[in-house]
Symmetry: C2
Subunit: 967 residues, 2 copies
């Protein structure tokens, strides 16, 4: 097998057998595409099902077909039925998308069935499309988790089917808007094209008119084309069949009644209706024949499509120029490529999505803020779990604390990326299920982490995990028995040192805190143990120096013991890098100063709520709901014009001001010593609805920055796009919702700027954000609504709380003020630190340990470090700066793969596609012509100095399979 | 093939090849029954689908799965899917019931599929059950049409699959009550047993308690046991699966979730729930696993049943005594038979059916009276069509008037027998479809009849059929052009002479009417041409003797030209046999006298309506609807206490009085010369509902007959059962609906009697009837309702009329007053004459012709005469008297098969089962022990004198396949 041989050379004599490649041919599926007729209009019927990995039902309920009273859907039966029907006629085809379901099904199949399915895959009759664990949301997901979930699904397909199981096309038919970073990721994963269903109705109308439904999407401003170029097609009917041609059991369209002896013979009428469909740029058109959870009884579909093909093509004998065939998106794509046309170029993204004038899907950017945070936190935990699995070796998964694994967490994260999961658009019981899965995943990881720490520390003494530190509960450290001495472990998954506050409820008033080398650490009982964490693993000891009993401390509800407030004086808080002023009459922030750069902006921050539309106004009956944001006025209500300053804390490590706005809104403004950001820790909820008004709560930062109509938001936590109020780069926008129509998703940051100042906000989860006024930036924090918004979920978004009537959400915004050209140097590491947090500490001693030989260069982020199989690990190194955004860091940077790890010897390395399902050198994507010269030279990228020394260009991610040996 | 050889001897050297018998074994299906475990409780899972041959959708819509927005149901897919699933595991079984659907499906299948299905049938994995064209209604069908529809279905199965396609079990799981005559028919067709789902809830409770859910039904008081004995089982869950075990796509019960890694693993709970099911008399229990239109996606059912069997039987290893298996009703029945128990005996029937205290399904006995009449008329037409096909020979179906056939009509009648067809419980659009099918069937027959008459008359001159004689329209005879001379053909399908009024609208005032021999016939222009019809075919000439133009005459709206009414005088009408008096103050009938027997009764007749319950009273929310009759008071409203006498007609052939009761109720009371019955031609409708009250219209005959609580109703037009008010023969009735709970179906007659007098009413269609008071008999004529009755049809029964807001129904009741012991001599031929009416005349000349050599003996009815294949005809001869009901006729009677026909030579004869799918001598039904000695000696039946001379005992029907040659 040729490919494996090539790998052998690269890794230096050590054979790799990671890939099953049962077939020699490249792109077997393409070679088995059905014949088309170049002199006719070829209609590619694409039988497909869209299987949400949770929405109205949980993923397992969908798999089994349980609780069909909620929604009739059973994926096990879909796959059973399709496989049966495919066998009946070799012309029939089917695509399958969601590996989370296929995986569940596959493992219940007999060897016979597996053999049949493999054969169907090898012959291109069953083709995997997209192939991730789920079809991820694009607005509220972080690229790190997206890459992971894609890798999880693609690996299963590769392990199971080899090259024939490799999806050639990305397929996001349902997500509610499309992120440029997703397109970039898909391109880097080797997909030849991308199809989706939903785009703004105005955009669609224009594209239909100008025949620009298909285009080349240049998805990165940093990567050299065509690295991030992705052929992108908008499907003609969303992802549904043409009207009147839905033959699923869930549809009521007339079947083809072709027995002339029975009543209502309708062949002629059906054929005629079909021939009236709209057409595209080439003489090929794709027709999605399927929809949500369809094909549970595939016979209905295939039987009628067989007839449709038969009767439409029969007309060719009478001069018809229409040729209908079973096809797949990749076969359709191949025909488009062969047409050798020039295609329009797209460089912005497809947000926000509106399907009508008052129907902007911008609410889900914020829906379910607690789930969104938990998902983000779980990503951090998973990375830690993965890393410790690698570092701890085989005993991590089977060690003194039992059987642990990272798979459960990987799969839980895989389903959580679904476009009705982290998006917040699922039913409440399903949201609980996602959270439960993440918690179960973590429970499995926790065993792994204990095992791994036991290996790394050489100590098998038990550890106590403090799961509920977010509400300041830790059973060991605050037990009623006085604790005189304990050790605490902290694991830092970033590849470099961070300083990070640790909050630990304790049962003594004064502790000495030292690191494991006995060096004192600055700490403050009742608030934080505040420590710098070096790469990989740090362990701290905390020794009590007092026997006085003390209440465990809850920061936001107690009074500060340190400073009494003179409400008439101007409050100023200052550390080395930042100064923040408060208005003494309103208690609100009033200015922010960067002491390094000596720049100050006026900064007022307050909380407001938009009154959610109840659907009773004259323009439209659209309500605000889980998906849709629709305020019934552009003017939000202020929650309080003034903030009551409740506590002020000043210490050597942290300064805090607690602001109280209302019984359901408060905030801690916080400065950490040595940090360049201001932290705003907001608490919102339970949002009151007794007044019968749904509320969408924002915080707004009003500054004197001359940002005009412009603001900036990131895409899936990576590259940043420019936004402009009431404007879309690619069409002449008719703005119909002045607020909701200007909201964009932010995953980790947003900013406004002028020539001098840039105010960047880094967030802890995905949210919706906008800039409605010059110098203003607003972020939606929480939503509580009274009505469903008619997009299927069938529930108003009104999350119950654990202790209160409604959900209380808490989160952090990190504010950085810099000159624009220095902004990235601050917000890039700040955001990565927010994403990969040191693991919530556990107690128990371990020696100071680092898995890396040295900290990574500042521009390099360790995106992935996970065990691949017994002898190999998957690593992704990322250049975390965009081209040109940092004078210092936006440069190529080189890493030596053999000098990374302290406990692993790297024996060989093979570079792979981003999805880790193809050798990099085998990537051979279709080429597309845009008719314009590439705006960037084709080979800006710096080359690798040697096989072991790999160079990362700005925004580049490189994926390697390393053959390793534990030292 | 042995069986065919035996036949050859009987038919005298001429070979018969009518039957395809691909297998030598008897009862292959039984021999392939699954193994059971005698030491365990064996649970027979019977996968089945119940496919209504029209109900909420038309039969073709159901077949295709069209209009699924009304009801999701597509039979083509059910059969596709079941055949696929049966192939996956030889243990799986399925039964199929409705041949009307199977036939449609079969003819669209490839040879490959046909081969597979045949194999499945031969192996007993697919078993046909019941097997008629439909699952007939039992309350409103006539035995003649039931036998025909069964024959149609069974013949298709026999032609297609031979002996393995012969159903062994009758299966009426849905009909709303069960007729004794149906049981008798099934016994005579050779079925080994009968299962049904619905019986009175009180009866069911008692039977559950006493373990009498299974019994031997002795279904005839005339036929020698066990000729009409039928083992009968009541199914435990209607025809549904046990609660919680419905795994069809249409159900929402939890699937078996047996992957412990997925959420909600439920195997243990499901198994435990299943083991809690109730049990029967033997260690076998049947579980119907299916329901209405289920198994469209059979995988869902089989996959979960496979798991159920696997997990329940796995418990046997732990001591469980429950054994679950795939089975069929016939395999279950075989086990019951092998148990060799004694079974309770049942001799009455299962009417009326109530599923709760106020929920009597006695409304449908009358629902859609016009459809019920049209169905009955169509039966008569079909018999005529069949007979003329035989008599006219091959040119009947392909002759000078084109291609004609009786098949279309047979099939239309076949579906019309369905328990949501003639029953009147279908949606309105479906009722129209049934009528349309009958009309189409007749159009095909009309060609056949013309061809046949051309053959028989030697004249190919065109004929005009007067289809609309019921509203006195005939395009030829009343054309504006004066018609001086025309001939009219009348075909009499009875085997003997009848006298029958012919109404023909004409365009002249005076006609001479002669028969084809020139003999004058008494006629009366403006009323009737009144003629005696001899057997088979009579032709009459009508010659106009006047050129005066005259309006065409509508009898019921014109004034009589003959007699002026003196309203003060007592009206008396009299012919040779009957005298009828009217009350001169009320205008109502006052007495009836039989002049032959010199007996007189007081007889008052009037019209009333019950106010249909709107479901708003305190006992129950049950409404009256298509199924349910529920008056909200036991006292009906009289429509008018007096009748206005509008016209009186007296002539030598007929005397008529027209009574007007209200704008929507009128009646003609009519005596025919030479007739022994009084005819009441009622017209009811449009029933007014502007008052917001649903109405159920009855006519009530009040007499001085001392009938006490007793009255008598026929069963499917044949044997008569005694009824008693507020009483059931087999359980202690708690009467909760004093009116509706005493209604019974009548198909052709009802009577009350005392020692001296019997008043018999013969009807023209099926209706509901009761006797609420001593001496009283009431018949429900029409119903118009405002509410649905919650049994699924989803429409109030409010039939639109063609010209009015509501349907106008018209019909005839024939009253005979006799001593009880002479009653049958009158009502038997009267009823047969009503069922088989002379064919509505066409014009055109033909010579007098009779297909029979001589009239049949009075006790013998020619039930069937139809072409079987090229060289053979099917004939059924029936003894139309019950044992003991007629001194003259309740005796054995012999007919010589070779001396029946005038145009056919009978070459051979083979006797068959009643269903014509088995040689009579091969009938070998299971024997059952009732523990009581047979109440009748086993061989009362007289024997045949010779092979050609066949003897009929009372109520016996004998079925022969005759090999014939046209003379």
């Amino acid at each position: 097998m040729l490919k494996v041989s090539k790998k052998e050379m690269i890794v230096g004599g050590s054979k790799t057998h990671y890939f099953i490649s049962p077939l020699i041919m490249d792109n077997v599926s393409l070679q088995s595409c059905p014949a088309t007729n170049p002199s006719m209009l070829n209609v590619h019927l694409v039988p497909h099902t869209h299987d949400d990995v949770g929405w109205l039902k949980t993923v397992d309920q969908y798999y089994y077909g349980d609780r069909n009273y909620i929604q009739h859907a059973g994926v096990q039966y879909i796959l059973d039925s399709v496989i049966d029907q495919l066998q009946k006629d070799p012309a029939r085809r089917f695509i399958y998308v969601e590996t989370a379901f296929f995986y569940r099904w596959w493992r219940q199949q007999s060897q016979d069935t597996r053999r049949i399915v493999t054969q169907l895959v090898n012959e291109g009759r069953l083709e995997f499309i997209n192939g991730g664990w789920c079809m991820s949301d694009e607005a509220t997901t972080h690229y790190s988790a997206v890459i992971d979930q894609m890798t999880l699904g693609l690996r299963f397909l590769n392990d199971t089917f080899g090259e024939c199981g490799r999806p050639l096309v990305a397929w996001h038919i349902d997500p509610f808007g499309h992120a440029r970073e997703h397109a970039s990721i898909f391109a880097q994963m080797g997909y030849d094209g991308f199809f989706f269903g939903r785009l703004d109705y105005q955009d669609k109308a224009r594209r239909m008119k100008t025949k620009e439904m298909e285009m080349l999407w240049r998805a990165s401003e940093s990567l050299t084309p065509p690295l991030a170029d992705l052929f992108t097609g908008v499907l003609p009917n969303g992802y549904n069949p043409p009207e009147g041609f839905c033959w699923d059991q869930s549809c009521n369209d007339a079947p083809i009644r072709d027995d002339p002896d029975l009543e209502d013979y309708n062949v002629d009428e059906i054929v005629q209706r079909f021939l009236n469909a709209a057409f595209y740029k080439t003489n090929h058109i794709i027709m999605t024949m399927g929809s949500d959870f369809q094909y549970e009884n595939a016979n209905l579909w295939y039987k009628n499509m067989d007839k449709l093909i038969k009767y439409v093509n029969a007309l060719q004998a009478k001069g018809s120029k229409v040729n209908v065939l079973y096809s797949t998106p990749s076969c359709y794509l191949q025909e488009l490529n062969l047409a050798n046309l020039t295609w329009p170029l797209k460089t912005d993204d497809f947000f926000p999505y509106a399907d009508d004038a008052h129907d902007f899907w911008t609410g889900y950017f914020t829906s379910r803020p607690a789930l969104k945070l938990y998902e983000r936190l779980s990503n951090s935990r998973l990375q830690t779990c993965n890393q410790l699995e690698v570092l701890g070796g085989p005993k991590s998964t089977s060690g003194p604390f039992g059987e642990g694994d990272s798979d459960t967490m990987s799969k839980a994260m895989g389903v959580a990326q679904h476009h009705d999961a982290v998006s917040g658009t699922e039913k409440q019981h399903v949201a609980y299920d996602y959270a439960r899965r993440l918690a179960t995943g973590w429970a499995h990881c926790e065993v792994l982490v204990r095992n791994s720490l036991a290996v790394l520390s050489g100590s098998e003494s038990p550890r106590v995990f403090c799961e509920n530190l977010n509400i300041s509960v830790c059973p060991l450290t605050e037990s009623s028995q006085k604790v005189l001495y304990f050790s605490m472990n902290v694991y830092n998954p970033l590849g470099r040192t961070v300083s990070w506050p640790v909050r630990l409820p304790v049962n003594g008033s004064l502790y000495n805190v030292t690191d494991s080398n006995g060096k004192a650490v600055d700490s403050q009982v009742g608030n934080y143990v505040f420590m710098s964490f070096k790469h990989i693993c740090n362990i701290y000891d905390m020794k009590s120096s007092s026997l006085l009993p003390l209440l465990s401390v809850r920061w936001f509800y107690g009074l500060s013991p340190h400073i009494s407030i003179n409400s008439k004086s101007i409050l100023v808080y200052v550390f080395k890098f930042l100064k923040v002023n408060f208005d003494d009459t309103t208690g609100l922030l009033s200015s922010l100063t960067n002491l390094e750069t000596n720049q100050t902006i006026r900064l007022t921050q307050n909380f407001y709520w938009y009154n959610a539309s109840a659907g009773n106004n004259k323009e439209s009956h659209q309500t605000s709901g889980a998906y849709i944001f629709r305020p019934n006025s552009s003017d939000p209500f202020v929650i309080n014009k003034t903030a009551e300053i409740q506590t002020v804390t000043v210490s050597s490590t942290v300064q805090e001001v607690t602001q109280w706005f209302s019984p359901w809104v408060s905030q801690v403004v916080r400065l950490y010593e040595g940090h360049r950001e201001l932290e705003l820790e907001w608490t919102v909820g339970p949002v009151p609805i007794a007044d019968g008004l749904g509320k969408e709560v924002i915080t707004r930062l009003d500054t004197d920055i001359e940002s005009s109509d412009y603001f900036y938001t990131d895409s899936n936590g990576r590259e940043v796009l420019e936004r402009r109020k009431d404007y879309r780069p690619t069409w002449d926008l008719k703005q119909t919702e002045p607020i909701a129509g200007n909201y964009y998703p932010i995953n980790s940051r947003a900013y406004i700027k002028d020539d001098k100042h840039q105010l960047t906000v880094v967030t802890d989860r995905s949210q919706g954000a906008s800039s409605i006024y010059n110098g203003s930036l607003e972020i939606m924090l929480h939503r509580r609504l009274l009505y469903d918004d008619f997009r299927g979920v069938g529930e108003p978004l009104s999350e119950p709380g654990e202790f209160f009537d409604g959900l209380v959400a808490r989160g952090r915004l990190l504010l950085a003020l810099t000159p624009p050209k220095m902004a990235a140097d601050v917000h890039r590491p700040l955001a990565q630190g927010m994403v990969l947090q040191p693991l919530s500490p556990g107690t128990g001693w371990a020696p100071l340990f680092s898995g890396l030989q040295a900290a990574l260069p500042p521009a390099v982020h360790l995106l992935t470090l996970s065990q691949w199989d017994k002898d190999s690990v998957l690593i992704r190194l990322e250049h975390q700066y965009q081209a040109k955004e940092s004078e210092t860091h936006s440069q190529p940077v080189t890493v030596n793969l053999q000098k990374l790890f302290s406990t692993l010897e790297v024996l060989g390395a093979s570079e792979m596609s981003l999805g880790a399902n193809q050798w990099k050198e085998d990537m051979n994507r279709l080429q597309w012509n845009t008719g314009t010269k590439a705006s960037l030279p084709l080979s800006l990228s710096a080359k690798d100095p040697s096989p072991w020394e790999v160079t990362l260009n700005p925004m580049e991610i490189r994926t390697f399979l390393l053959r390793v040996r534990q030292l």
